[in-house]
C-alpha cells in the first residue's frame, strides 16, 4: 500500500467508502444492454463499442477505449475505441483517419499501470503523473482518467479506460465501471465462444459437404435423419424424399434386400459396410458404392445414431473386373497355345524321319508361331499385317526379293487366330519351296499375290495365291502327305472356313487360299469379275 499511496492524485483501491451504491437501475440496465446486445454484434469491435458507449453514458466520460493483452503479454491490442473517441481525434495519421485500431502497443504510461498493477485507477491530474508518456498526435488532451482491469479466471487479460469526465472521476464512477467489468468480460467471452463454435460448425459442414462421399445420418434400422448435398446431387432425391427409408428408392432393386439386411444386427456390431449400386440421376446409370456406417454413442455407450458415408467405387470395380478379364484371357491364350504346340509336336514326331530333321521341322514351326504371337501382341488391335507375315517368313529363310520373287497385294491385317494358321501355312510352303521348289532351283520363280474380292452375295473373300513356276518336276512331292498338307487342306478350312487348293504341278506348287472376309472400311476392295 505504501507505494500506491505515493502515486499522486490517485485514490487507493482499498479506500472506502464507495459512495452511492452503483447497483442502481441505470447500471443494471447498462449491464443488461451489454449482455443482451453482445451476441447481436457482428464483430468484437462492435461489441466493444457497445460496452464503451454504456460505460461512457453511465460515468459521463468523454471518450474511452477497450484493449487486450496481446500474445506476447507485454503488448496491448485494441478491441475498440468508442464512437466519441474516434470523433474526438483531430490528427491526420492515415491509420487513425481510417479508424484502424492500433495493435501491439507497449504496456506503459498511465493506462499501463492498470494492467501492471492489476487494479482500477483514477488519475485526475495526468499531466503531473510520474508514469506519464503523453498522448499520440491528434489525441484529445487527457484531463482525467479512469482505468479498470478485466479479469478472466482471476487473471487480468484486458482493460478498459475512460477519459475526460467534466469534473474528474470519483469513487462513484469507479464503482460503476467496476460493476460493468464482469458483464463486459462475460459478453466478450460469450461472443468469442459463439464465433468459435460457428467457425467450427462451418468447418465441419464444409468438410462434410466437401468430401467426395455421400454423407448421411440414420437412427437404428436405417431410418435416415439427414442427407448431405452430395447425396441429393448424385441421386436426385431431396433430403425430405430420402428421410426414413426413402433413400431405398435410389438403391438398385437387386441390392435393396442386402441394404435392408445391412441394418440387421446393427445393434451388436460396431461398424457396418456393404457394396451396392445407387442410381446416378443425371445418367440414369447405376454406379457401385461402398457404404459404411459408424455408430455414434452417448455417455453410457448406447448407440444414439449412425453416421454413414457412401463412396463411389464404380471405376475401381470396373478396373477390377477388367483386370480379371485380362488375366482370364491371358491364361486362356497361354494354355491354348501350349495345347497347340503340344499337338504340333506330336504330329511332327509322328511324321517320322531322322531326329535332326524332326528337330528342324519343329523349331521352324515353333518360330513361325512365335513370330505371329509377337506381332499380334505388339499391335494394339492384336492384328497382323499379311505382307509382313509373308516377308518375315521368307526373310527368315534367307530369300530375297528379286526378279524371281514377287510379293504383291493391298494392305490387309489379319485377326490373330487367322494369322496364326496362315503364318504356319506360309511357313510350310516356304520350307517346301526351299527344299524342293522355287527357292531351291535357279530357274524357279515364286509369285505371292493377294486381294480382297467382293462376291455377288455382297460377302467378301481374301484370296491368297502362292504360285511357283520353273521348277523341274519331282517324282514324289514330299509335302503331299505331311504336316503342311494337312494344315492347308484341313486346318485352314476347319477353323477359318477357308477353301483351299493345293496342287503339285510340273513347274512347282500352286496354292490358293480363300478365306471369308469381314470387310472393314479401310480394306481396299477388288470387285470380282464373276459378279
Amino acid at each position: 500500500m505504501t507505494e500506491l499511496t505515493s502515486l499522486q492524485g490517485q485514490t487507493p483501491l482499498s479506500a472506502p467508502p464507495l459512495g452511492p451504491l452503483p447497483h442502481d437501475s441505470h447500471v443494471l440496465a447498462g449491464i443488461n444492454r451489454i449482455l443482451q446486445e453482445a451476441l447481436r454484434a457482428s464483430t468484437e469491435e462492435e461489441l466493444g463499442q457497445l460496452c464503451l458507449a454504456v460505460a461512457e453514458d453511465l460515468t459521463g466520460a468523454a471518450f474511452s477505449f477497450f484493449g487486450e493483452r496481446g500474445g506476447s503479454d507485454d503488448r496491448l491490442d485494441h478491441i475498440a475505441i468508442s464512437e466519441r473517441g474516434w470523433a474526438a481525434y483531430t490528427g491526420n495519421d492515415p491509420h487513425f483517419v481510417k479508424r484502424e485500431l492500433p495493435g501491439g502497443m507497449k504496456i506503459h504510461g498511465i493506462f499501463g499501470q492498470v494492467i501492471l498493477q492489476d487494479r482500477s485507477m483514477i488519475v485526475n491530474d495526468p499531466a503531473n503523473h510520474p508514469d506519464r508518456v503523453g498522448t499520440p498526435d491528434g489525441h484529445p488532451a487527457l484531463r482525467n482518467f479512469l482505468g479498470v482491469p478485466l479479469r478472466r479466471d482471476g487473471e487480468t487479460f484486458a482493460m478498459f479506460a475512460l477519459g475526460n469526465h467534466p469534473t474528474g472521476f470519483t469513487e462513484r464512477e469507479r464503482a460503476i465501471a467496476e460493476e460493468l467489468a464482469p458483464a463486459i468480460v462475460q459478453a466478450l467471452l460469450r461472443k468469442r465462444a459463439e464465433v468459435a463454435s460457428r467457425a467450427s460448425q462451418r468447418r465441419l459442414l464444409s468438410l462434410i459437404e466437401g468430401i467426395p462421399q455421400l454423407v448421411w445420418t440414420a437412427t437404428q434400422g436405417g431410418h435416415w435423419t439427414w442427407a448431405s448435398p452430395q447425396w441429393v446431387e448424385m441421386t436426385g432425391l431431396s433430403v425430405e424424399q430420402s428421410l426414413g427409408h426413402g433413400w431405398l428408392a435410389a438403391v438398385h432393386p437387386d441390392d435393396r434386400d442386402a441394404a435392408r439386411r445391412f441394418w440387421e444386427g446393427a445393434g451388436e456390431r460396431g461398424n457396418l459396410a456393404m457394396e451396392g449400386r445407387l442410381r446416378h440421376v443425371q445418367t440414369g446409370r447405376y454406379r457401385w458404392f461402398k457404404t459404411r456406417a459408424t455408430p455414434v454413442r452417448d455417455d453410457h455407450g448406447t448407440i444414439v445414431e449412425w453416421f454413414g458415408t457412401s463412396t463411389d467405387i464404380d471405376a475401381l470395380r470396373r478396373l477390377r473386373e477388367r483386370q480379371e478379364t485380362l488375366v482370364a484371357e491371358l491364361q486362356h491364350r497361354v494354355r491354348n497355345i501350349l495345347t497347340i504346340i503340344r499337338s504340333i509336336f506330336t504330329r511332327t514326331v509322328d511324321s517320322g524321319g531322322p531326329i535332326d530333321e524332326i528337330a528342324d521341322h519343329f523349331r521352324g514351326r515353333l518360330d513361325s508361331l512365335a513370330r505371329t504371337q509377337l506381332v499380334a501382341t505388339q499391335s494394339r488391335s492384336g492384328r497382323v499385317d499379311l505382307e509382313n507375315l509373308i516377308r518375315d517368313e521368307l526373310l527368315g529363310v534367307g530369300a530375297i526379293e528379286d526378279d524371281r520373287l514377287s510379293i504383291q497385294g493391298p494392305d490387309v491385317s489379319l485377326p490373330a487366330d487367322t494369322a496364326e494358321t496362315m503364318g504356319l501355312a506360309i511357313h510350310e510352303l516356304t520350307t517346301n519351296a526351299l527344299k524342293y521348289g522355287a527357292l531351291r532351283h535357279p530357274a524357279g520363280r515364286l509369285s505371292i499375290a493377294w486381294a480382297i474380292e467382293l462376291k455377288s452375295n455382297s460377302k467378301c473373300e481374301l484370296i491368297v495365291k502362292w504360285d511357283e513356276t520353273g521348277v523341274p518336276a519331282m517324282p514324289v512331292p514330299p509335302v503331299r502327305h505331311g504336316f503342311g498338307t494337312e494344315l492347308i487342306r484341313e486346318a485352314l478350312p476347319y477353323g477359318l472356313g477357308a477353301r483351299t487348293r493345293l496342287e503339285f504341278r510340273g513347274g512347282g506348287v500352286l496354292c490358293v487360299i480363300t478365306i471369308p472376309w469381314i470387310a472393314d472400311d479401310a480394306a481396299p476392295l477388288n470387285r470380282s469379275t464373276e459378279g
Partner: protein
C-alpha cells in the same frame, strides 16, 4: 483279353475351334472306341449337332473363335446329355452357373479327357 473301353460305341460330340486340338481329341476318343460326332469349330455348327444328333456325351471348348459355348451346354443339359468343358479358363472366369461343371484344363493329356468323359456317362455295364 482286352477290357472293353467305357466309351466303346458311345457317341461323343466334339466342339473345338482349334483344328489341331480337335483332331487330337478325335484321335483320343477314337482310340477309346468312341464314335466322334464332329468335330466342329463354330457355335452354330455345335448347336446344330447338339440338337440333331443322338449323343451320349460332349466335350465343349468354352471359347469358339470369340463366341461362348454356353448355349450348346444349355441345349445338351435340356436333353440330359452330359458334357465337359475343355478350356484354358479357370473356374472363376466362367459365369457362376457353369463353375461347378466338369472342366478339363488345357493343355490336356488325352487319357485325362477319356477319364473325364467316362465319368460323365452312367455305367450301364454288368459288374
Amino acid at each position: 483279353m482286352n477290357r472293353r473301353s467305357p466309351l466303346a460305341d458311345k457317341r461323343i460330340l466334339v466342339v473345338e475351334d482349334e483344328y489341331f486340338i480337335a483332331r487330337d481329341l478325335e484321335r483320343a476318343l477314337q482310340a477309346a472306341d468312341a464314335i466322334v460326332v464332329g468335330p466342329v469349330a463354330t457355335l452354330e455348327q455345335g448347336l446344330d449337332l447338339a440338337e440333331s444328333q443322338t449323343l451320349d456325351a460332349a466335350v465343349l471348348d468354352v471359347d469358339l473363335a470369340g463366341e461362348r459355348a454356353f448355349e450348346i451346354a444349355d441345349r445338351l443339359s435340356a436333353r440330359d446329355v452330359p458334357w465337359a468343358f475343355l478350356t484354358g479358363y479357370d473356374e472363376w472366369a466362367l459365369p457362376a452357373p457353369y463353375r461347378s461343371a466338369s472342366i478339363v484344363a488345357k493343355p490336356f493329356q488325352p487319357d485325362r479327357i477319356i477319364r473325364a468323359i467316362g465319368a460323365l456317362i452312367p455305367d450301364k455295364g454288368c459288374a
